[in-house]
Assembly symmetry: C2
Homo-oligomer: 395 residues x 2
């Protein structure tokens, strides 16, 4: 299935000029994070990158580093940012940069499964509802090293006692925003922690994450999805080496232009003192974004409460070490559930000209759908209008 293309043909995804024709289908399927664009527009030339024709021509960024294609400035920005936000321990870890965390997910699978004596592919599991792309990203090349084995809860209950597995822990979870821990209770398994959404705008930062392999992405941190920059924090040197080898074989490194831009923008995030935003919103990116998503969630919960057709998850109030306030999660996606049991929720919502992703893709029931909360303001408002209008049609 062409995940992106088929949804994009309505043209409503272009962030700078969204098609807001009332008759057109709006795209809430992908998590294209255009919600953050106005913040960066207000930054004006404070984060403008200038690169001359002779800059960064070589394959190499730092020949002396294990990750020879990592721009040193990006490594510095990443460590400073994790220290500032307090969401992950980065000291003593290798940083491996990737073409988005998508490439790094595959690099991690390779690193944890490739050995000359492997005779069968290792099972890859994740607790349902799991990120809809894990199955296809794992299986599209029919690798002899690893294969998708579905829901981690089901795998845990299997009686074969197979200790040869990789569990992907996605926390906060895409699609449902819940905080996750590993669910398979066997010794010997290997873990990949996909922490794409562990940033203050989405969820309270309760502790610095401290796992063997942690994946992050520029897309979900600041909204720069087009740059295709992700990074892994990796404890074990041999695992880091194999991930680096994967990226060598897969794409001989990662765009220098994107790395340098990410280095500059992530560097600015640690700076809390923007004076010229000319807004009554907070100046710090994370506080600004948290307010913005909190407002959106409030509006969505009002619509859901009014039309009585859907259920949204509730999130506990927790103390965020970054904002120093008690807050709830305001996830990047709404995991919307139809109250009636037999309804195909995707079909229902699609009939009202909204592209969303059905629950079955996430290993869940068809009464669920995932809806992006990161669209542009215009598209988000159309979403609220159209969701409000469903009641009459459905009853």
């Amino acid at each position: 299935m062409v995940v992106f293309n088929q949804k994009a043909s309505n043209g409503s995804t272009k962030s700078s000029s969204p098609s807001t024709n009332i008759s057109k289908t709006i795209n809430l399927d992908q998590g294209d994070p255009t919600v953050f664009e106005p913040y960066w527009r207000k930054m004006g030339d404070k984060c403008t990158m200038v690169i001359s024709a002779s800059d960064s021509m070589s394959y190499f960024s730092d020949a002396g580093n294990l990750c020879w294609f990592l721009e040193p400035k990006l490594g510095d920005s990443i460590r400073n940012l994790h220290h500032e936000i307090g969401n992950a321990k980065s000291n003593g870890r290798h940083i491996v940069v990737g073409t988005g965390s998508t490439q790094l997910y595959q690099a991690a699978l390779y690193a944890l499964s490739s050995s000359p004596d492997r005779t069968h592919p290792i099972s890859v599991v994740s607790a349902a509802p799991y990120y809809s792309q894990y199955p296809e990203e794992t299986d599209y090349l029919r690798s002899g090293l690893y294969k998708w084995a579905g829901d981690a809860y089901k795998f845990d209950k299997e009686e074969d006692g197979n200790t040869n597995y990789i569990e992907v822990v996605n926390s906060p979870s895409n699609p449902d925003g819940s905080i996750r821990e590993a669910v398979v209770k066997r010794t010997g398994g290997k873990l990949i922690h996909d922490l794409a959404y562990y940033w203050p705008q989405y969820t309270p930062i309760t502790r610095p994450a401290d796992h063997d392999i942690m994946l992050f992405t520029f897309s979900k941190c600041t909204g720069h999805a087009g740059s295709r920059i992700g990074w892994a924090l990796v404890k074990d040197t041999e695992v880091a080496k194999k991930m680096i080898k994967f990226i060598e074989l897969n794409s001989i490194g990662v765009s220098k232009e994107s790395q340098l831009r990410a280095a500059m923008i992530l560097g600015k995030l640690s700076d809390n003192s923007y004076q010229n935003l000319n807004s009554n919103k907070p100046d710090n990116f994370f506080e600004f974004s948290q307010c913005l998503l909190a407002e959106r969630w409030k509006k969505l919960r009002e619509v859901v409460k009014r039309n009585q057709l859907f259920i949204l998850p509730d999130y506990p109030l927790e103390y965020c070490n970054f904002t120093r306030k008690f807050t709830q999660s305001h996830p990047a996606f709404a995991w919307l559930q139809c109250k009636e049991e037999d309804v195909d929720c995707e079909k229902l919502i699609k009939a009202h000209k909204m592209m969303v992703r059905g629950g079955v893709r996430f290993g869940a029931e068809k009464k669920y759908v995932r809806v992006s909360m990161l669209s542009s303001e215009v598209v988000f408002n159309l979403f609220l209008q159209r969701l409000s209008a469903i009641k009459g049609n459905f009853n």
Copy 2:
């Protein structure tokens, strides 16, 4: 084997400040194209890219295009450049952008092999000496879709008559610079043409290439290896769709920053009228680069002639439609052969503090090595010095 990292640890690969310590090993293993850097430095701010913090944040570049992640300006620059140079037919083809041609090679393998009813991996072959990375790029994930099957000449002689194969035609060839055509004489095979070096600085442009899948890369065209931009010209829509799907699953598109920079730089290549280069060399990039490589090859042939230990390939004089002159090839690599039969040429050269790639890696004999001709000026001069010095030691 970590192809890049192990070679880089001597630090001699950093293009802007090569380590030229006379006692250090120099790196002529990869084809890091730093030879072209001085040209781009002289361009000054004529090709400087400026990108603000809110530019190109979306996943999408052109939602209405089959290749939804291709920046339209890059597509335009690519078509204009092929038209200007006359090295490939681009009209009526889909352009698929990739994270270097490395990612596109894998996308092409996927596109030509993925079908629900495939029960055995398809054989992938290329005529020896073949590009040393094809075997590992094909086999590292132990795909059930495709597998490396070695030298196309040997495959052609096998008597099973298997018509289920992919032949990679690399022309001009890396490592030996020869012009290639498909060698397997069976109907039903599928072809990938890797034309990374089919540019006027390396070889006479004798005709516009016209094949089903043609791969090019920014790295070898202009020397911008760090940008990781490649492109495929693809005739068949279904094949293009599958390549696009591969890139979605592999990395959800390609860096926008790199694409925009490549669009600008490739756009300038079609402009022959630079006035301010302040040099007695030609102003056009391809003419400038052709002169530069011709000079290097002349110097190398003089050294080889003097020390009587090695053989270099000869290339025919041909009319180049772009420069409108009769020229020889001046490949990006020298395919150096020891005259004595039993010599391990890589070992010999390594003993003289030069990292090169041994013939066995290319499916050839150990008396061959591949040497980069694209190093910086300082490193290239050290190479000539050290190669000259071998004679005494060896006899």
